[in-house]
């Protein structure tokens, strides 16, 4: 249940941004969560709804975009199917994760005077 700890880090980051810009309110956050980021997106949303009270994000909506994991061969670019052995079938190079391990705060909609 590290989702709560990650929400806390998110709230701190947004709070600093809102304070720095003299914002009156935070309206919306957009976050990307990868399939292999080790974060349960539903638990994360629940934790956010619980912990935003009393913070700059009290009235903020949270949009979570889920990013599927995508593996490919870094040499010949051949995609590797989910669940397959993580090695290129053509050139035997170990696969590289192209996307799917991110936990990223993309944008904050701030209300400013």
């Amino acid at each position: 249940m590290h989702e709560y700890a990650i929400v806390q880090a998110l709230l701190d980051r947004v709070e600093a941004e809102a304070r720095g810009r003299g914002a009156l309110a935070v309206h919306r956050l957009r976050v990307r969560v990868g399939e292999l980021a080790g974060l349960d997106a539903d638990l994360f949303a629940t934790a956010f709804a619980t912990f935003r009270a009393g913070t700059a994000c009290a009235g903020a909506a949270l949009d979570v975009e889920r990013v599927p994991a995508r593996w490919a061969c870094p040499r010949c670019r051949r995609p590797i199917a989910p669940g397959a052995v993580l090695r290129c079938a053509d050139c035997a190079t170990p696969a590289r994760l192209e996307q799917g391990d991110e936990i990223v705060l993309d944008t904050i909609d701030l209300e400013v005077p």
């Binding site: 590290h2 009156l24 309206h27 292999l36 669940g83 994760l97 400013v112």
Partner: protein, 232 residues
Amino acid sequence: MCQSCGCDDTELVPVEVHERILAGNERTARHNREHFAAAGVCAINLMGSPGSGKTALLEATARALAGRRRLGALSGDLATDHDARRLQAAGIPAASITTGSACHLDAELVHRALHDFPWRELDLLFVENVGNLVCPAVYDLGQSANVVALSVTEGEDKPLKYPVMFRTADLVLITKLDLARHVEVSLDAIHDALARVMPRPRAIELSARTGAGLDGWLRWLDERLAPARTHA
């Protein structure tokens, strides 16, 4: 103020951030890593389920390397200092990081623990993470390698069920090998599962109790220590 007409209406501004939410932890982890590199200490983040044999492995490692390498350990647990005491009894400096309710260690917890620990005098610092196959995988501590203990009694498909943990592992130790024949586990099935979650699968089968396979693990540690030794 509204830019177009000068009225008192507020404005909605989209702020582009594009920053990893755990950037703060990653900064502290970098700081820890710089300390370890400067002091020539190899830090290993040892993870695995509760009961996977992490502490027993460290006890066996401490005994095997006694007099040859300077080992130390920080043990993370929700409660008790049992693991640290077991490791002290095995002859190495060890301290507990008691996390209370937290299911994982983070870089700040490790950083604080270093302040009261003689880590600079070590060749090898083991950070024994909280027993958990989920949360610890998300937090960089500043280690030079991630090692995951997976016991033969846990089930062959654990890597497939917890891909995040195994993806970030540099080495998997398949522990409690002496029990393999009692639980009818297929070691081949474990290796196959690892190859589907680790791009560079590396695994060593061993038993801390009998010592079987321990030499492979000690060799792996030696390879890690080689660059640190030249600084000593």
